[in-house]
Subunit: 432 residues, 2 copies
Amino acid sequence: MEKTGVALVGMGTVGAGAAKLLLDQGDRTARHAGRTLWLTHVVVQDAKKARNIDLPNGVLTDDLQVLLDDESVKVVAQLVGGIEPARTIMLQLLESGKDVVTANKALLAEHGPELFDRARQLGRSIAFEASVAGGIPIVANISQCLSANQIQSIRGILNGTSNYIISRMDRDGADFATALASAQELGFAEPDPTMDIDGSDAAQKLAILAHLAFGARINWQDFPRRGIDSVDSTDIEYARRLGYRIKLIAYARLLPVGLQLVVAPMLVKQGKPLAEVRENFNALSIVGDAVGPVFFHGQGAGQMPTASAVVADMIDTAVGRTKITFKTLELWSDGHARVDIAPPGELMGRFYMRFDVMDTPGVLGQIAGRLGKHGISIASVYQHEPDPDKRQTVPVVIVTHRASEADASRAIKQIAELPTVGDQPERFRILD
Amino acid sequence: MEKTGVALVGMGTVGAGAAKLLLDQGDRTARHAGRTLWLTHVVVQDAKKARNIDLPNGVLTDDLQVLLDDESVKVVAQLVGGIEPARTIMLQLLESGKDVVTANKALLAEHGPELFDRARQLGRSIAFEASVAGGIPIVANISQCLSANQIQSIRGILNGTSNYIISRMDRDGADFATALASAQELGFAEPDPTMDIDGSDAAQKLAILAHLAFGARINWQDFPRRGIDSVDSTDIEYARRLGYRIKLIAYARLLPVGLQLVVAPMLVKQGKPLAEVRENFNALSIVGDAVGPVFFHGQGAGQMPTASAVVADMIDTAVGRTKITFKTLELWSDGHARVDIAPPGELMGRFYMRFDVMDTPGVLGQIAGRLGKHGISIASVYQHEPDPDKRQTVPVVIVTHRASEADASRAIKQIAELPTVGDQPERFRILD
């Protein structure tokens, strides 16, 4: 059987998983690739460090140049995280004639255009299934399986850490800090969880998907983004009573005014599939104009699910499918973006609003009046009895009918100026 | 831009949908294919019949030979249903040098080996995403996106007609005949629904998936199959009270004793994703050893969802990806089957059993005794009070712990021989 030399750069969790699949399941990969994927090099920073995995003699090296010089190696999975040296390694690999597979979404979100252009110039390819939603093969599904569709919307839970934390808050009534600590203890959150909990990680993934689905060339920092770190357990509780769950949603929707993109905690109606995504799972609901709604659910991270995506990409690259896809799709090419970004203020939606108000007569009327002045009508109201042990304010929770972002913002601002209303109102979108 | 000639044979619902996508969305397909897919021929039986779709002049023909002779046409979607003349047309297309796309699962289930072997001999390819689960791209996901995995199990709702009928029975308490009539009225069931409601359609699809996922070469008639036509609304009601829904499940699982394959109505725990699949939707839960569980949900039939799969396959074929996949996977090749089919009797599972018993003392003890004699222990029992208006029997519903199929069958047979027990006990598996 034909042999294709393959290599890994980086031997963290995912790298070790990919090595296991390549070494222990050689028959399987050979069956799907029609050739043996022969692991020849694993390049690491420190070749002397103790590792959990037995590699064949001579495979482990800390000399990238050895790999770059080995012309028998055609496919390399670049699994170093962060921006540098990952970016430089990626360019070196492409320049030495390797096709590259990567799981590094931050690198693609920051330097996608540069890397993809360089790969095209050199006649090479980059595969990146593992960069979004781990084990869920969403990149292939959007760019290939659903290619007869104009994708109309993407609603995703793309950050497992956030979903784990917010599910804990919902289930146990835990506050954010407690749920985060528990997630860290169980390994579902990094020691520094900033990129996960502030929505950056989900925004990077959404930027990649928006490029695939809509041809949008947009930096992940250029659309509205809010993480779960600002979600109060009070709102999770009220949302539940109203029949919703709060989830961190990555949202993209093609509208006549342009493409709407946002990452934010939103209220999702209980019973809808996205509301029921538990623990650290990821899920996506994608609507195509021909296929209608398609829903995907699976492990969005973790050693073997991510390695599953990496090795599938290595197989696709070895057999030549990636080259075709990469060439035809012209990802991140210099061509004009196919869609404009919609002006955020014009976007319509329903909102959950919470005001802390003085327990005096007439407040609800004042709030309703100011909402009405901006054309916002109320779908439901939930007003709590005052807690005798606490300060003399009560929360008023309002779910609105459809209104524009701009109107909702203006109304909330004016309501917060009322002397009877606290100056820190809360607001979430309700997922449509 | 480069042009690839494409054609359709058959212009029913799906054919008209595919024609619409090719004609109205040419820019889109060109963007994904890197070339224009140029619809040159639509071959039908009767070219004079009035149709809902405007085709360009000269495209419609009732002469297949014109298409066979046109060397500029490389990709043909063969959308004629049934076995003949579909099989002959397929062979003629392959022999005249066309790569073929099809949605005809019955043809593949019956003649897959012959057609695939012929395609291979001729250096041609067959793509068949649309043959299973309509708009859900499950063929590509199993054979390509999850290729780093050993698939361990498939649990699917693959027949939308059955799911619509049984959902109606569950929601409205309708009996089978009423629900079927309503499905026919709404177009969710064919005038002759036999293949859908007796489980044949789901079994054909499962046979195709089992081949892709496990390398099993098995005829769809060679594993246990039961449809929803035998499901009594009584059992749907009891199942609901016990916390389950009855769904028609296509089930494949790799076990140490071999591959278990079955299509049958089973009890699915409420809240599990497969239990919540409504209307005519399809869904699959697939477990891979690396990726873990992945869940897919979408439209399993209908004009545009199926056309979405057909046109995606035409794009894949035009760009060359199908050729690679077809060649490396060696589907239905003469090689040995990679798995044996497990002996049905040895398979373990939990069961729902319903006995109609005389309302006399000691019956439950007798039933429990006979179950116990076969090593079957009882997880829960539901016994109804007798209905004073009806005959003097009462249903006893039992949910068992794990037991083998053989033991369950023997125990049920012996229980039905008791003079106090009716001779038509009911039994369903509980989905694990």
